[in-house]
């Protein structure tokens, strides 16, 4: 029996699979590489995060106040472009100290995919919010986006 399959395959131009995470700048900052690497590892190893990642289209800024550095995460429904610094047209911007940013990625995800704010890490994050040491600009109308980003970001 003649099998034309492999030859057809060889002749066909295979579409390159887009990378999960790409960097807008030729030299991504250490912070950009770290956040991009964290999200990439999370999404590629956890199917439940892939669903969130695939559905999210938003531009999220994260600014670390005690090192004066920021990044913009441009989620494009299954693809993320990480920019050094705060780029324009952000839907949400999170501003916090380095330790709080790390704690955000340690928030547990509870019932209905909601971040847990009643355990030790969650209470710490909530306290920072009340003390305005954690500020989230653009929250109004973007609460669902914030929860989705938190789920993608969480390593728990």
């Amino acid at each position: 029996m003649h099998d034309a399959g492999p030859r057809r395959m060889a002749g066909r131009k295979l579409k390159a699979r887009p990378k999960t995470v790409e960097y807008a700048d030729a030299e991504p900052s250490a912070f950009a590489s770290m956040l991009g690497g964290l999200i990439e590892a999370n999404v590629e190893s956890r199917p439940e995060k892939q669903r969130d990642f695939g559905s999210l289209a938003a531009r999220v800024g994260i600014f670390v106040t005690d090192i004066d550095e920021g990044v913009t995460l441009d989620f494009q429904g299954g693809h993320l472009v990480v920019h050094n610094g705060l780029a324009p047209r952000r839907d949400l911007t999170i501003r916090a100290e380095a330790g709080t940013v790390m704690n955000l990625s340690n928030l547990k995800i509870g019932l209905f995919g909601m971040p847990v704010y009643y355990d030790e890490v969650g209470r710490g994050v909530a306290a920072k919010l009340l003390q305005r040491k954690l500020r989230i600009d653009g929250l109004l109308g973007n609460l669902a986006t914030l929860n989705t980003v938190t789920r993608i970001f969480s390593v728990q």
Partner: protein, 140 residues
Amino acid sequence: MAVKAFSDEWAQQFKDEVNKSSVYKSAAKGWKWTVGLVVEAEPDKNFPEAKGVVMDLFDGSARDITVGTAADAQRCDFVITAPYSRWKQVATKELDATKGMLQGKLKLKGDLPTIVRYTKASQEMTECTTRVPVEWPDEN
């Protein structure tokens, strides 16, 4: 009594500090990977040769901490690399290790979600280094 930085005596005292820490014990529950610290040479700081600190950490305790070559440390599951003077800044609390990593002053190799999950443990590990009285080679 102060011990020479990154010497065998330093490693022993560092290990003792880690094993004395109840904070580390609870924060590092479940940790089962080796960590290597590469201390890059800075001849002008009287630190002429790179060294490697190999930490065998398991479930909240330090089974062993030894000082060897940079290559020894590079074989670990997680590797943090920085020049001598950066490590000195960390050990003297001039530089916060988390901030240092976000700024690229300390270079981390290894599975990021795992290390982020153990942020508190790594912060306490840094605290433990600050409790060891050290004789720095560039202060002689």
